[in-house]
């Protein structure tokens, strides 16, 4: 409060001074005029303004020279404190009064509940100087937990209660209360309601009578409360209320107006705010002629005499207008009954008058209309506007911009899954209660002050009594003010009773919701009067071992502490300390603005074609998974480092798994290609070569595709097939992974696809060569089967150059994709020339026969496999598996680490007993009789002799090449050394308009499973470019190109459990992101035109959103990079 306003409220006026202020201010002034010496309060809407005035007075009077500057008010020294709670406030006020200093205690309605014990007991004893208790009720519950009618307390305590009907009356009745209290030596309650407290009107201030009393204490036995004296004390108390002494006061407090005519029909009796409504209507509608009225100002003791006199005027019918409980109404009925007065009394339940909520002008108008039995004209809302007010967006109060509670709740959100019932969050009164609202939703209970800690203990007890004990934790959330108010004692109980709960104290260094009052933890000691109590020391002193303070704006540290607290057994206390932003209003925490880079916000990193389908769901859980990884992971890997040649959205895939949404993870793979299961089995994982460490994508693919339930459901792909358009008929030759990948993409794009395959079943090398101990063949079949459901037609036994002709297909179809692979196995002349046919195989044939179970070899065979690639390893392992007595040696020219085969496959082979001879080749070969071969070996580098090898069979696995003759007769002669087709950059075969090459047969492309898939997808894009003018390039091109420059890969990562993946954060900008809105919701983050923007006028630059955004789109605006949204 400004200094001059404080001075004003302390200034005495000899002649009445007109002011226009709120009722609360009037109450404060009245107390000052009455010579109050000490005021004790706890903040609580709608009473807070009263105590704030005295708080300002205290500050004012603590300043040096104030007395010299304002000599007129220098004599009036008023003490004020915000006590720890209302009980202590009232106790201290009582003590002051007993010590002969006039005092006042102020609180809201439920505060009186806390102060009830002293309130009920002191009247049986005695006070000295006046003591007035101000309590503010809240009909309609604008800002309270209930709408209790506190007048009952006065009746229970047997003390006087005054019920002002307007701000001016609040002032006048408070003055009267001090007088009555002094006279009767009793506390007097003045009970306001919200509108009386906060309404403003014009009334007059008067002179001030400062307190001249000397503090003292008289030893009087009445100060000692013992049961023996109770009956006498009670009688004496009732005598004060019912005796002569109090009678004169009624006339000041109750007013009446008899009706102007002789009519004795109708009358109204009112009290409180209802009076104001009635009087306005009484004047507007000129009801003086019809209605007499009586207004009651002192509710306890009940004004029997005034009511009786009024009733004896002989009214036929009386309307009682009173908010909340029918205390006045019932009292009137009692008077009427006791005195045998025949009158019809109406009140509650008459014409919509209820105990619930506030009254209003319109409610009172309707009641009067029904009472008078005639309409009263009044202005109506406009019917034509009614439909505009429905369905408007709600605007509840929210946590302020930069509120530290938001930071604490956010860290909690990262720790706690809220999709289970295990963790229960017990909240409390105050600003932190706003965390219950969406999107935070981080509260399950809120009751009254301090209940959080009691609720947590009690629930933990109840649920912990279940036979299986309990998983999860009960956590109490409480503010610093509330902690002192009533949380301390509850914490003590929790310690004492060995409760297993966590408590988080939201210490924003103030009592915020009521406007920022001090509390013992944050007393703002610039005035030097109050001593600070350190919460952490206090809690430790109580006996809690696990106590941690944290800065909620340091998200990771706060996260770890919350996590540790939850895992702790017993009582643990966390104190989240950061000042309320309202303490320094308009302050900006940094001079550097924060901005959102629109190139990163809600932007897909993967492709430029916006029409590409993405299965990834924008859910709060997904956002949390990514955001949590950003804060807590040990390894942060950019998505670009783990790019897939088939452009599978790896970060989307991984984050869906983090969010435990395995179905979506699988669908994200299937957005791009069919072979989720297959790649999970045998892909050479180039996506894991780009960074070290890297997320084990392949392993996760295996895991996700391994779930039978998820895996079998292919509906999603079928849903997004586009309708077929004419002019889009495509022939694909070869049903290997490349051809099938082309088929998948084209079928989804609405093309009619016809696949020609020379074998009797699809799959190519995948089906025929890869052995089933390396991959799940059933899974493959299932994946291929989707193509049939997508409408792809398959023609088996159709071999190029025999049943089908390339040029003919090129004429008959709009485009042709040649994906026949490299089917000719390379051979060593020395083997071909020397070894009998039945003792030699190439790996491709061997594996095919193995898969078809057509190998009939003797049990005790020995093999030498030549080659260092995967085919060699597969053949070697297959040979081992044919019989336990088989012996297999693999000879290759490479070292262990330069062998092209996968390291993990090599290790499997070694484990299974295959012997590997590195750096060796066959220099000579001899065929003995008896199916035995002798191989003379030499070292590849030095050409030195090596020990000879004996075996029954040789398997050559030294590479594949294309069928040059077949290709030439099909009109293709641009071939490379391996007889693979050299195409242009779009995979188009030169000398053809509409023939493309995909897979191993295309010399540009990498000979691997994912290389084939990528190649197939690229061909599909090229077809679309040709036939429909598709504008975009192949999305996986860059990753596909980098396949050709490969480095050796380490063995597969040692992830032993799914929990291990939480060490990774694979991040890339994502369009399907709503995280900041879904889980953080700072009011300065506004959605405009599909992107998030920071409203600079409200942003206080705390910078927390920078930690929140999983796309790293929010940044400090340094001078260098400013793109997207400008400040």
């Amino acid at each position: 409060m400004l200094k001059n306003r404080v001075a004003e409220i302390l200034t005495p006026f000899d002649a009445p001074e007109s002011v226009c202020v709120m009722g609360n201010e009037g109450v404060a002034r009245a107390a000052i005029e009455s010579g109050v010496a000490g005021v004790f309060a706890y903040p609580g809407t709608p009473s807070t303004e009263i105590s704030m005035i005295f708080s300002s007075i205290r500050e004012f009077q603590a300043a040096d020279n104030w007395a010299a500057e304002y000599p007129q008010i220098a004599n009036n020294h008023i003490y004020f404190e915000y006590s720890v709670n209302e009980k202590i406030a009232l106790e201290k006020a009582i003590a002051c009064s007993i010590g002969n200093k006039s005092s006042m205690a102020c609180m809201k309605n439920v505060g009186l509940n806390v102060a009830a014990d002293p309130l009920m007991t002191i009247p049986y004893q005695v006070i000295n100087a006046p003591l007035v208790v101000i309590v503010c009720d809240d009909p309609g519950c604008h800002s309270s937990s209930n709408e209790q009618d506190s007048r009952h307390f006065a009746i229970s305590a047997s003390i006087p209660l005054l019920d002002p009907a307007s701000p001016g009356e609040a002032y006048r009745m408070t003055r009267e209360a001090f007088i009555i209290s002094e006279d009767l030596k009793l506390p007097v309650i003045v009970r306001l309601t919200t509108r009386v407290s906060h309404g403003r009107e014009t009334f007059h201030y008067n002179s001030i009578k400062p307190d001249q009393r000397m503090g003292c204490f008289n030893r009087d036995p009445v100060n000692i409360n013992v049961p023996a004296r109770t009956a006498i004390a009670h009688e004496r108390l009732l005598e004060k209320l019912q005796g002569e002494r109090i009678q004169p006061y009624f006339s000041n407090l109750n007013t009446k107006q008899l009706s102007k005519s002789d009519s004795k029909e109708l009358a109204v009796i009112t009290s409180g705010m209802a009076t104001s409504y009635f009087l306005e209507l009484h004047e507007i509608h000129e009801l003086a002629g019809e209605l007499a009225w009586l207004k009651i100002g002192m509710i306890n003791p009940f004004p029997e005499l005034d009511v009786l006199n009024f009733l004896q005027k002989g009214y036929r019918r009386i309307l009682v207008l009173e908010e909340l409980d029918p205390i006045l109404e019932n009292g009137i009925r009692i008077v009427a009954q006791k005195n045998h007065i025949d009158v019809d009394i109406v009140g509650k339940n008459f014409s919509g008058l209820t105990t619930v909520g506030e009254y209003s002008l319109s409610l009172t108008t309707r009641a009067l209309e029904q009472f008078l039995q005639r309409p009263l004209s009044h202005k109506q809302p406009l019917a034509m506007l009614a439909d505009f007010t429905d369905k408007l967006p709600v605007r509840p109060p929210t946590l302020c911009v930069g509120c530290p509670h938001r930071a604490t709740f956010y860290a909690m959100k990262l720790v706690l899954p809220r999709n289970d019932d295990e963790t229960i969050l017990c909240g409390d009164i105050g600003c932190l209660g706003l965390g219950a609202l969406p999107p935070m939703g981080m509260m399950d209970t809120v009751n009254h002050m301090g209940m959080s800690i009691s609720m947590a203990q009690g629930l933990d007890l109840a649920i912990g009594q279940n036979k299986n004990g309990r998983a999860g934790k009960t956590i109490a959330l409480i503010g610093d003010g509330t902690f002192f108010h009533s949380g301390m004692t509850s914490l003590l109980n929790a310690i004492y009773t060995n409760a297993d709960i966590s408590i988080i104290i939201f210490d924003n260094r103030t009592i915020a919701m009521t406007g920022g009052q001090i509390n013992p933890g944050a007393p703002l000691t610039n005035i030097g009067e109050f001593q600070r109590v350190d919460i952490e020391k206090l809690v430790r002193g109580m006996g809690v071992d696990f106590v941690e303070s944290m800065d909620p704006f340091k998200v990771e540290d706060t996260y770890q502490k919350i996590k540790a607290s939850i895992n702790h057994r017993g009582v643990s206390v966390l104190i989240s300390v950061s000042p309320c932003v309202m303490l320094e209003y308009d302050r900006q925490i940094s001079t550097t603005p924060v901005y959102v880079d629109h190139n990163k916000c809600k932007t897909c990193a993967n492709h430029s074609d916006r029409a590409q389908y993405c299965s990834h769901e924008t859910t709060p859980e997904y956002g949390l998974a990514r955001a949590r990884a950003k804060i807590t992971a040990k390894q942060h890997i950019a998505g670009e480092q783990q790019a897939c040649p088939a452009n599978i959205c790896n970060h989307g895939f991984f984050n869906a798994i983090l969010a435990k949404d395995y179905q979506t993870a699988l669908e994200i793979v299937r957005d791009k290609m069919l072979f989720a299961r297959t790649c999970g089995d045998i892909c050479h994982r180039p996506c894991e070569r780009g960074s070290h460490p890297s997320v084990p994508i392949k392993l996760l693919k295996h895991f996700v595709a391994g779930d039978a339930a998820n895996f079998a459901d292919h509906e999603a792909a079928l849903q997004r097939v586009r309708p077929q358009t004419p002019g889009h008929r495509v022939a694909i030759i070869g049903a290997g992974p490349a051809g099938l990948s082309t088929a998948y993409d084209l079928a989804l794009s609405g093309y009619a696809v016809f696949v020609f395959e020379k074998e009797q079943s699809p799959g190519g090398v995948l089906f025929h060569q890869i052995p089933d101990f390396r991959m799940d063949k059933q899974g493959l079949q299932s994946e291929i089967h989707i193509l049939k459901k997508l409408g792809v037609s398959f023609n088996y036994g159709a071999a190029l150059g025999e049943q089908i002709n390339l040029q003919a297909l090129s004429r008959e179809y709009d485009a042709v994709v040649l994906a026949i692979g490299v089917s000719i196995s390379s051979t060593l002349a020395i083997v071909e020339n020397t070894v009998p046919a039945q003792n030699r195989y190439n790996a491709m044939d061997f594996l095919k026969l193995f898969n078809e179970s057509k190998l009939m070899l003797k049990n005790d065979s020995s093999f030498v496999v030549i080659g260092g690639g995967n085919s060699a390893i597969d053949a070697a392992r297959a040979a081992m598996k044919l019989s336990p007595e088989n012996r297999v040696i693999l000879s290759c020219i490479e070292d262990r680490h330069t062998m092209p085969a996968f390291q993990d496959e090599i290790e499997e082979a070694l484990r299974e007993g295959v012997l590997i001879h590195h750096n060796s080749f066959i220099s000579d070969l001899q065929c003995n009789s008896d199916d035995e071969l002798t191989l003379r070996m030499k070292a590849y580098d030095s050409k030195k002799d090596l020990p000879s090898l004996q075996c029954n069979f040789i398997i050559s696995a030294i590479g594949q090449h294309g069928d040059a003759e077949l290709l030439r007769t099909s009109g293709i002669d641009t071939l490379d050394q391996l007889h693979r087709i050299e195409t242009n950059a779009q995979s188009l075969i030169p000398s053809a308009d509409n023939i493309f090459a995909a897979g191993d047969i295309n010399s540009n492309h990498h000979m691997s499973l994912i290389g084939a898939i990528a190649s197939g997808k690229k061909a599909a894009v090229s077809v679309r470019q040709l036939l429909e003018g598709y504008e975009y390039p192949y999305e996986g091109d860059r990753a596909m190109q980098s396949l050709n420059s490969e480095t050796a890969l380490e063995a597969e990562s040692n992830i032993t459990s799914l929990e291990d993946i939480y060490q990774y954060d694979l991040h890339q900008t994502c369009e399907r992101c709503n995280h900041c809105i879904d889980n953080f919701a700072c009011p300065s983050l506004v959605r405009k035109n599909g992107k998030i923007t920071i409203e600079q006028s409200s942003c206080i630059r705390c910078g927390l959103c920078i930690d929140v955004c999983p796309n790293n789109a929010i940044q400090w605006q340094t001078e260098t990079a400013i793109t997207g949204e400008m400040v």
Partner: protein
């Protein structure tokens, strides 16, 4: 007796505007009163306040009773439409503050054009501050007050408003505040 309501969002200065208007009324020797200012102000929630000028007002403004409305924010102005009657005169500021429900895509910010044109059909006078009007945001409140003061029959004369501003506004801010007010008065 004339009744006026102010609607807006917590933090926009509703409480301050109430004080200003009351102070001006006191200077003009008009019996003025307010009821409760609803809303948890600083928490960004909706806030509305009623003021009565002259007898027998006690500060309560009920549905259909507002002779004047000062709408500091568009959505809240629309929300308070039930206070208006056919004789009402209204000014609606061009500030739009997005509630969470709109940011989250749960609801849409209402269409103002339709509302304002309907309003113009139903009530006596509407001044709708256009989107392209830019005032120094620190003084936008005074600009809107200036417009309001020019509505026909506004309960307090402009000279009293400017006196009140001199007395109450932040030191050093009085001159630009009054300038903004003047701008508002000549807005239409």
């Amino acid at each position: 007796m004339k009744k006026l309501i102010i609607s807006g969002v917590g933090g926009q200065g509703v409480t301050y505007l109430v004080r200003l208007l009351m102070h001006a009324a006191v200077l003009a020797d008009i019996k003025v009163a307010t009821g409760e200012i609803h809303g948890l102000s600083q928490r960004g929630g909706m806030v509305n306040a009623g003021i009565t000028f002259g007898e027998p007002g006690h500060g309560q403004v009920d549905a259909g009773e507002a002779d004047f409305m000062i709408g500091l924010e568009r959505l809240e102005a629309q929300r308070c439409a039930s206070y208006l009657n056919s004789g009402s005169r209204v000014v609606i500021n061009n500030t739009e503050i997005m509630p969470y429900a709109v940011n989250a895509g749960i609801s849409q910010y209402p269409d103002m054009e339709t509302f304002v044109s309907r309003l113009k059909d139903c009530i006596e006078e509407v001044v709708y501050v256009r989107d392209d009007t830019t005032i120094d945001p620190r003084y936008q409140l005074y600009f809107v007050l200036g417009i309001a003061s020019s509505l026909q029959g506004f309960p307090v004369g402009y000279n009293y408003l400017s006196q009140a501003i001199e007395l109450i506004a932040r030191k050093g801010g009085q001159a630009p505040a009054i300038a903004a007010c003047e701008l508002g008065r000549s807005y239409n």
